[in-house]
């Protein structure tokens, strides 16, 4: 993970260009690293769960929290892939304050659901499988740490 600590304590992303002549390694190393946070909440206006990226202000929607998070993982991965090949793409944008405020009263997203979301984003989760039982929801807001290359094949 390439990152540096800012004066405000946040980990800032950096472009990792890799070395010349690296072939497949170079391809992998050209990805932008970003340690992001997703805030996952139910939005009555959207009639959906929303997963909102704190550092890119992108959002994923879904009928369940895992589907929303899976969509966000896929979108942020696409955004970083675009930015790694095109310097003009502005990929960092802070989410609005109301989303940041939700971080103060959220629960950690359950690890097993996170893994399901990860598999949905990678396209390795069987269609029709149940992501999480509705009665397992014990909060209306969750947060999850997003690492780099979330959708990369294992």
């Amino acid at each position: 993970m390439k990152s540096r600590r800012s004066s405000r304590g946040f980990t800032k992303p950096v472009r990792n260009r890799g070395q010349k002549g690296g072939g497949a390694v170079k391809e992998k190393m050209s990805k932008i690293s970003l340690q992001d946070i997703a805030v996952i909440y139910f939005s009555p206006a959207d009639e959906s769960w929303v997963a909102h990226s704190v550092y890119t202000d992108q959002l994923g929607l879904g009928l369940t929290p895992t589907k929303a998070l899976a969509e966000l993982m896929r979108l942020v991965d696409k955004l970083l892939a675009m930015a790694s090949t095109d310097d003009s793409i502005e990929y960092l944008r802070k989410a609005p304050e109301e989303v940041i405020d939700r971080l103060k009263k959220c629960k950690p997203f359950p690890l097993e659901w996170f893994e399901v979301a990860h598999n949905i984003a990678r396209g390795t989760y069987p269609d029709g499988s149940v992501e999480e039982p509705a009665d397992a929801l014990d909060a209306d807001t969750y947060s999850a740490n997003l690492g780099e290359n979330l959708c990369a094949a294992a």
């Binding site: 959207d46 202000d57 966000l72 955004l79 003009s88």
Partner: protein, 83 residues
């Protein structure tokens, strides 16, 4: 009476007319601002995941319209006025 719905077609037409780039990627939509939209030449980008089509008839969710407004300063009324 509620506000009229904004569909993807409205959004695509509005932004294409203003020099924005529209990309399609695996069912997802990507709106990229033109370089001249920012003094530094960087291009703001909004991605709309294909789950939006879970909403009836490719109607954009309010959350997506808010994201477009934050990124590009474009309101739903401006988009609908075009369409």
């Amino acid at each position: 009476m509620g506000q009229p719905n904004v569909k993807w077609g409205h959004v695509e037409k509005f932004f294409l007319a203003r020099g924005y780039e529209i990309r399609h990627s695996g069912g997802d939509k990507i709106i990229v601002a033109p370089k001249h939209a920012s003094p530094t030449g960087t291009r703001r980008t909004v991605l709309i995941g294909h789950n939006y089509s879970d909403h009836k008839g490719e109607v954009l969710a309010p959350g997506h319209l808010s994201a477009i407004k934050r990124a590009f300063g474009v309101t739903r009324e401006q988009i609908l006025a075009e369409g």
